[in-house]
Amino acid sequence: MPEVFYRKWRPRTLSEVVGQEPVTRTLLNALITGRVAHAYLFFGPRGTGKTSTGRILAKAVNCLQNASGEPCNECAMCQSFNEGRAIDLIEIDAASNTGVDDIRDLKEKVNFAPNASKYKVYIIDEVHMLSTSAFNALLKTLEEPPAHVIFVLATTEVHKVPATITSRCQRFDLRRIPQAAMVGRLQYICDEEGINIDPEALALIAKSATGSLRDAENLLEQIVVYHGANVDLQQVRSELGLTGDARIKELLKSIISKDIQSGLTIINSVANDGLDLRHFNRELIDALRAMLLVKAGADDATGLTPDEIKEMKAIAADISLEEVSQSVKLFSQADFRYSPQSTLPLELALVDYSVAQSESKPEPRAEVKASSQPRKETVKAVVQDEPQEEVAEPSVPVVPQRIPISETSSEIEHIQQHWGDFVKACKGAVGQLDALLRGSCKPVSIEGNTLVLGFYAKSKFQKNKVEDSKYSQAISGKLEEMFGTSYDVHCITIGEENRPVPPPAKENPLVREALAHGAEIIGEEYVR
């Protein structure tokens, strides 16, 4: 098994450590003038060269023909370092040896002179994982080690290292590697490995590695293994899960025209092709941003060619700047954290946008349709149909449509059956008609053109109110609206025993829960 790129192409001299000039120059000067400190702390994100620099430093101080500060990589000593068999380079995995005993062990051995070389170099990697007592046990040794010892500490999380440790070391912060430097290094590797690759493709790899050379080398290797020694931009794009523009533009058009159906179809077909929806979303946001810039008149800032800008302008003709900014917001909020492979976040963003836009435009309200209408309708229509109140109070569906009398039941039975709906439909009529009628009365009979409402004995207040002409007329009107016949209303009092029996309060789980917490029932009243 050959070594992977990031091990094979580990830098061997300070000049090969790319993108870290301040660090390498300082170290080189220290080596030339012989002012090497006894303790270094290298800190930086993954893949920026902490361990590599430490190893080069160890090699350089021990090189037998060190003329210019750099290790020669030819003498016996350098070779033993390169092959990983140098006996005086002690690399400690601090994350696996975290305890104070490991450090005590180290302290014991520090005092012995080096076996073969001039200096004994301890590289303590992932040093942030040492326990507090291990750090403290190290302090004295780190401050005044024997003359033949150099410590190199490396970590990605410098905030976990105590200040007493940091102050005893020369601290070097390694930056994320700039894109240009990374491209240069990747190009060098490709030349050495005999790989033909477009410069743009390398730039794309470098960009996606976000400053970590190891990530970039890993990606390069994966691409080379899959596509062979000749790699072009398109192959890199597909490897990174970039989909190209075709379907992005399609989706963009669906968003602008608020066509939910075609939008959902595109999103699902992208998912079915096994593409990464997070990447897809990122590209979509880029496109929306470009549209935002074009709309705002900042054509130059988009970085698109004149042809692309022209096309973008054509697409964006029907949409306002406000709408574009709204869509950018919604799609950039799509949250993939809890369902990384799901289409749901994108679908939700699309629907939210379309709904928000159609609601904010006051369009003439269409005729109210019966709830049994066929469901193959466009969402636009549905959204218009829904009265505003329903959003605020979804649990009270208003049923204002006319209910035809069925053949089998008589007129009064029909009204009795639908009385509940009728009361609901009264919501929003004069005063609080629905509240007066709810649970206080029931339709008893129809005498000629008069509907007789029986009020229970205890609902005297409601009866008196309803007898007022203001309310009885409103009821007549509603009755005609719903049942198609205009009735006069007559109120009578019927016995309390006719009231439907409410379920015993103790059966209600909320009441039970309250009782369990020590509540007492002091009286029961059924409100409905």
Partner: protein, 344 residues
């Protein structure tokens, strides 16, 4: 023969790396549950240690022992199970001791002279200490050692772990591929295969286990019926249900999480019905009810329901009071007329 279904590109990549002798020493497989990460890992371990010409053959002695978990050089690290007591919750993290034991073994020569393969299932469950102590070994392991890390969520891994591995993503399978595979390899009749393929959400492993175990599918449809009934229930019934669910949550978190996932698919279906995209819906066995519910709910109400389910899942993950979180969810689920449901 590589046994994984529908991930041709990835198999191709691994095959080429294998034949050119350019396999990396560390791979990170990322994909949803049951999508085939473990199958792929086992196959790769078999290919590395296979005794016959066409690797992996899945038939030779070595391959069979790897498949049954009896190979000395293939080590599986996962969440330790407390198998004796089912009530006791499973361990929540892969401990640093598990990794240290592995590190000791890795430094020995492979027992059978082939490759040592370390499979870490659920790599995101490694404790902070465990993940950090793996770093050095993962970067420069001894020769002939391959690490395979399996994870659902890439984001919860240390960036330093990710950067040391070749990252390979296994996307969820499109339902038509699952359907074909079920029909061809398992001989399932088309209508049942379609049902399973849609229900599994791209995780073919779930569909395969549902073939043999009728209970899985039955339980799913029962949960769906519960949800449909719940949409028509009043507040007291809903709160009662929330209390039940909260009790269940304290015993079995995973089951409740799966239940909420199922609810998400339901509301997503409603969204799709609203958008007139019937071919993508998951619960097509309930198409009639879906239609009725969709007609009664506004699109924004459906969107709200989806969002509050997601919020609830997040809150449960962050150890909020389960009963409170679920009750709030119950208040946010849109009300649908019960009578309408009874008609079906």
């Amino acid at each position: 023969m590589w046994q994984i279904i529908g991930q041709d590109r990835i198999v191709d990549l691994l095959k080429r790396s294998f034949h050119e002798g350019r396999l990396s020493h560390a791979y990170l497989f990322i994909g949803p549950k049951h999508v085939g990460k473990m199958t792929l890992s086992i196959n790769l371990a078999q290919a590395l240690n296979c005794l016959s010409e066409d690797k992996p053959c899945c038939e030779c002695n070595s391959c069979r022992r790897i498949a049954s978990g009896n190979h000395a050089d293939v080590q599986l690290i996962q969440l330790a199970q407390n198998s004796e007591n089912e009530q006791a919750p499973a361990r929540k993290a892969i401990s640093v001791n598990q990794i240290r034991d592995m590190q000791y073994n890795v430094n020995l020569k492979p027992y059978e002279g082939g490759y040592r393969v370390i499979i870490i299932d659920g790599a995101e469950y490694m404790s902070d200490g465990a993940a950090n102590s793996l770093l050095k070994t993962l970067e420069e392991p001894p020769p002939n050692t391959v690490f395979l890390l399996l994870a659902v969520d890439e984001g919860s891994l240390l960036p330093t772990i990710r950067s040391r591995c070749q990252k390979i993503e296994l996307p969820p399978l499109p339902s038509h591929i699952v359907k074909e595979a079920l029909m061809e390899r398992w001989g399932i009749d088309p209508s049942r295969a379609d049902l399973l393929a849609r229900a599994c959400q791209g995780s073919i492993g779930w569909a395969i286990s549902a073939i043999d175990d009728e209970g899985i599918l039955e339980e799913r449809s029962q949960h769906l019926d519960n949800l449909i009934a719940l949409s028509g229930s009043d507040i007291t019934e809903r709160f009662e249900f929330a209390a039940d669910l909260a009790t269940q949550f304290s015993k079995n978190r995973v089951a409740v999480r799966e239940r909420l996932q199922l609810w998400l698919t339901w509301w997503r279906d409603l969204l799709l019905v609203k958008g007139n995209c019937l071919e993508f819906i998951t619960n097509n066995s309930q198409e009639g009810v879906l239609g009725q519910h969709a007609a009664q709910c506004s699109t924004s109400a459906i969107g709200g329901a989806i969002r509050s389910i997601q919020e609830t899942m997040q809150q449960l993950e962050q150890n909020a009071n389960p009963r409170l979180a679920l009750e709030v969810l119950m208040l946010n689920i849109p009300y649908v007329e019960k009578e309408e449901i009874c008609l079906t």
